[in-house]
Symmetry: C2
């Protein structure tokens, strides 16, 4: 079956700080017309930073859309066209105060392929030095650390529900990190 | 550190077919005011349906926001307040033509906790009978099947990048399914 869809028109619904929203008129594979609502997002990074004690750095923060406290790996949004490795280096220092000498790319994923263009690049980091936290204005979080096996147990028990944290932790586990 | 944020006002930006968009005025943990842009989504389900040959049913479809063909487990959006198990039963038949006697809940996850309220409930399904595919109008996809180990290999090689498919496959692998 032919699957491609082609854009023929775009209505700009919203241009925000975090994302833009469009309603596109498209041609479906059967040549009929339809619409797609979509969120445009610059993309982000997620970092699993391992300490000297073989723990992973975690952040605890309130996530407004879900109205719950989330337990997550360090993460952040890319600046426009920013190299994701640079975003990862910057966010790790800003959120936790730790600078890592070593970063290894762990793949990318698409959180919501149905309606958002966001892509998240993942990194493993180690060889950490504490240089001081530097939170953004409007950013409130607590830093802690956890053994990978304990994090995996929380994931399998449905206590950790953040997609990027689940994916990166299970990939690390699968690699025996 | 105190983490909660409280809504004090809401601007409705967009009310769509797939999602709504709001810009909320909020009180931050330090009692200052700020804004949160958010997408409201009804939530969805993802189903790993195992065939008699111990393969998992997969769908291949074009994902407009990323402009790429994606290889995914069966998935779909909930109707308003629909029991997610009912969504899973319905979507499996609609997309693949297979009815499953047995469904096991595999946990939930939040794809993009920073800006969307979407929650995805995951299911393992087996004991399948073919009753006939019934695609939605405007839905174009190809159905195939794959061994879990081959899917895991594609995930680890970054050839499968859809969040729900990665999470459910790695959870199944971790459980020895």
């Amino acid at each position: 079956m032919k699957l491609d869809e082609k854009q023929i028109n775009r209505e700009v619904i919203f241009q925000g700080k975090i994302f833009n929203v469009y309603k596109d008129k498209i041609i479906l594979p059967d040549e009929t017309e339809s619409f797609r609502e979509l969120v445009e997002h610059k993309g982000g990074v997620c970092i699993a930073a391992k300490t000297e004690n073989n723990n992973y750095l975690m952040v605890t923060q309130y996530r407004y859309p879900i109205k719950q406290i989330f337990f997550e790996f360090v993460a952040g949004k890319k600046e426009q066209n920013e190299d994701p490795l640079k975003t990862a280096q910057r966010e790790l220092i800003e959120e936790t105060g730790y600078q890592a000498k070593n970063f290894i790319y762990m793949g990318s994923f698409v959180p919501t392929c149905g309606y958002s263009s966001e892509i998240i690049d993942m990194y493993y980091a180690d060889d950490l030095t504490f240089v001081g936290q530097d939170l953004d204005e409007n950013e409130f979080l607590n830093v802690s650390s956890i053994k990978l096996d304990d994090l995996i147990e929380m994931i399998m028990n449905n206590e950790v529900t953040d997609a990027k944290t689940i994916i990166l932790a299970l990939k690390l586990k699968n690699l025996g990190k």
